[in-house]
Symmetry: D3
Subunit: 240 residues, 6 copies
């Protein structure tokens, strides 16, 4: 059983966008399962294709190895790469049922995935939709009696937030686990063009979080909740 299931379109997504949350919750002893629908071999592995000898099999192999190393750096033991192909991710009606099986096994209370909208990347949109579909199936008693209470779904930050209508509801302080996230990023040299970009994203979110905090926050990670967040009390800060 995993308290958190992360479902992404491509192997890199869990690192750049949710690596801090993953490391933080693993450190706190929570189970985290990461599911990558594809290796991102076609659309998100440009540097790998600069090798003239590269072919699909070799790029897939490279990206899988990178993903495994990155998962390890974040403390994730349960990484599942479905290798369905990307650019475009297929619209196979069976995929949501496969994902629902995982949700029924892991019984998470929280799912992390892409936001609803992204005009520059329909694979992300399709993943979001399939996550919501899987969540429905997993809660339906007529689809198997081990049905679950539906989990919260939180969306991690996309590459160009305004383009995706992304507006953070929650920012978490990942300063403490930043070395782990940075190490995981470095496990993905195929996308090394993103290293600086996501370093800056983390620092901007850290600065924004730190404005209302008494302690310095160097790095942060932003999330948008699909469903209202159910809390026992209202979130209080640390008054100065």
């Amino acid at each position: 059983m995993s308290e958190i299931v992360v479902i992404t379109a491509h192997v890199g997504d869990f690192v750049w966008r949710a690596g801090g949350a993953i490391a933080l919750h693993r450190r706190a002893g929570h189970g985290v399962t990461v599911v990558c629908l594809s290796c991102g071999e076609n659309g998100e592995s440009n540097l790998a294709w600069q090798d003239e000898m590269a072919d699909t099999a070799s790029v897939v192999a490279t990206r899988q190895a990178e993903a495994e190393a990155a998962a390890k750096a974040l403390g994730v033991e349960d990484l599942r790469i479905l290798d369905l192909g990307d650019y475009l991710l297929p619209k196979d009606p069976e995929i949501p049922y496969r994902l629902a099986e995982i949700l029924r096994e892991e019984r998470p209370s929280l799912i992390l995935t892409h936001p609803e909208r992204d005009p520059s990347n329909l694979d992300h949109v399709r993943t979001h939709e399939m996550v919501l579909e899987a969540r429905m199936i997993a809660q339906a008693p007529g689809r198997g009696r081990n049905h679950v209470i539906p989990a919260q779904v939180m969306c991690f930050e996309p590459h160009q937030p305004e383009l995706c209508g992304f507006s953070p509801d929650v920012i978490i302080d990942i300063t403490e686990v930043w070395p782990a996230k940075e190490a995981a990023m470095r496990c993905m040299p195929t996308q090394r063009n993103l290293w600086d970009y996501y370093d800056r994203v983390a620092r901007q979110r850290g600065a924004q979080a730190g404005r209302r905090s008494a302690r310095p926050t160097l790095q942060g990670e932003a999330y948008q909740a699909i469903f209202p967040i159910i809390l026992p009390t209202l979130p209080l800060g640390v008054p100065a």
Copy 2:
């Protein structure tokens, strides 16, 4: 010092809309200050005006007494009624500075107030705006050196949520303190026409919160955050 400052346009607002949160946090030992800008004597005291002998002074006195009783029922010791007049609340530029003084004294990490938009009640809109103005002043070192870290602002649920663009980010379970909230509501017979309405609001929010919870939630209260919520980790539920 109060961890939470509630700022409302009229005396009834803190009861119908934030009574659960207030009682819950008081029970947890947090300081709560309630500031009512007016008594709602002109626009929100219709039943009091049915008495043909009623005049402004008598209605104000009635509503103040009700507010004091309700505050007591919720465990609030610090109730401040500024009695500025309502329908319309005046646009006096000094009011935000008065509110800023309260924020500097109480140094809350959370402010509760009305949402940004309400075409049926511009007093609510004006209050929201003055809260944001007061929050700015309170953090400005040039306005006095006891400046504060700016607090989170969360909006409680308005009477007609869709009309106000209200969409809950957070729902809290107030089942445990419902008797206190209900008692506070009963302290306001001038608005007894709202008793059933807010009983139903609480039950609807309770039912919505309970969908993703393993324990039954009979009553809930909904809030919308103006600023991203800064949390140490992502909010996990109780898996089934």
Copy 3:
């Protein structure tokens, strides 16, 4: 010919969400056709599955019987259950063409269905989309010469309105037919957990409608129009 066609994902939807409008228009002598794409047997029949002997066939039979009884309570003679399966409703490209046939037969000026968006229920989203597709096909002369003028589409209130971006354009007073709607709700004991919830929804919408009305409105039902409403004059109320 039916002036109104109601198209829903599951058998319960027309009762909880449009039962008042259906009863009101039937009482006024208008034809109403109700089309349910599925029985909701997998995802919306939890109480039926608590019987350990239950299987798909038995749950389908139970829900069909309930739907027939509820339709009768509302005065509906033309109920069509397509029984396509739910959680997930299939994405068969032929379904919009089947629905278009119904629109061409019934030639309604108004279609009632689910809103465009519902992250907790993609079957509702899919139904909305197929209704818009069917409406297109039905008006296309190249798809058969008995084509129709495209109908207005109004969305009934979803379970969690803010989650679905639902904002009512129209509220109708259903006080007069409330006994029929309540009776229809009671015809669905499989979803008896919704009885109180939709009783409260009706009362909240009634209270909101009643604010601007000279006569008391105990129960109401809310709708959002997809297309501008074409009226001969502007809607006037009853001045006090």
Copy 4:
């Protein structure tokens, strides 16, 4: 008593934007009061200022005469020009109280005014806000016991609809009263540059309304409702 009160920033607004509705309801025997907060002499009378001899008094006189002629063409007997000045309309806190007095005298069930937003014309925005404020005051028993049930507020179409977030909820067919509206437009030669523009606006809205109507609609007028429209039944069209 007037069933409808129209409140505009400048004298031309009621003609270009609500002339059809005014004529239609006057023809149906409804009382209509038109209140213009200013003559639009500074900002909306460019052609008048081309006369080198023009001064404020002369332009005001010209525009008042035009407004009176236009009102007459639409069948309006009750035209009130408050002549408060424009570009900018003053933010005098007494204006909403004056408007509230009119609402208490006329007791309309419907108010027509500008939309909430218009970055190209803050006078329109200010008028919208003051209408909502006046509506509050008029319903407050503490502001005088002849208080009223709050009216619906519908916004007429602004000059550049998308810029103002204007999206029509209702389109009315004004074909029948188009000659009256056109005559009223011609009573305003100071803004003759708008004649063709609003002729085209009417035809576009007519064409849009006619798509779902069995009868030809040559001219239409579009409105956006601030509050849900309360109707006895759902609006049905004329099936083909």
Copy 5:
């Protein structure tokens, strides 16, 4: 190679909605490729079906001839009609790959297509989605090494802008090429019911553009950009 690729659902769309831009850019010597996914034979050829002898083949032939004539009037040499069928456009997963091939051949920096949303025409919505999918595929090195830099996507104005959430980011002055656009419109007598409508659309957009211009603008065309527009400097107007 074409600097601009226009992709539409039906043959008429490029004329009514983008004819001005096409003519303007052709006149400036830019390559323009127009791709029509269907002939609009089923849903947008009502006048052709009034001929009782009409059948699908004859209507397709008529519309193709009209499209060719219109393209010629606009100066377009590269018109490709894929003839996939309309009302509904099929959801064949191969179509985005076909479009991607065109993008890789033509290597445009700008794609013009329908907006994201249109509840009255899902063929338009589907086209928009397939364009974004094709844009992804075309940039993916794993889908062929002649991959391209992803183009800007701009949406032309839909028939009912507010219904589609269309809000213009850019208006271009098409006064100079209006005769060519008008001639192209006249090449489509099957949709002659739209001639006046789009004449008025052009004049309204022209009037709106002309408000901030020193020179008269009689006709304009409006566009909404999906991605931020990358410019070397900010756009300056012609100061008076």
Copy 6:
């Protein structure tokens, strides 16, 4: 005469948010006038107040000197600091008339200012509103016959974009003038805590702009247009 007028609430704003555009247009020979409504002495000069001897006069003097140095670094000769006070900027009705005078003198075709919405900074909101008011006054012939054609208004990027509903319509490449912007930033040691933050903002916008460009873009600046951008043709990129 200045082609561009920049109007900000506080002295720092033109540097952090529009410094690139200013330097770029100055280098191109365009006139640029910068108007700062206040020195930001109360709310945006925290480091200056750490000096225990600081008082309002000394902080104002420091910030003015910084602003002058920064303006010079950007090539701006026309800097006007109105010194109206901040946190809160006063709501004096004369200010829009003063700004209108500047617009009539400079006759810009473009105004740069803060976005419409910013819950963390109402001074920015107030400035935006006053700019739109001034723009109205400046175009009104009744307010003086040297009236102007109304300028485009573009909003520069706020500190927390999603909080302000900021979504870039235009990104400009400021790589070439980055040294000037960086130098201007360094002229403001009172806000040195922002140096790294806005360095990262520039790099993120640069990276986003560079995705669709054939040449590398290291730094960018983002803008949102209030009014449609009027262009002679559609913006084409540089095809690969």
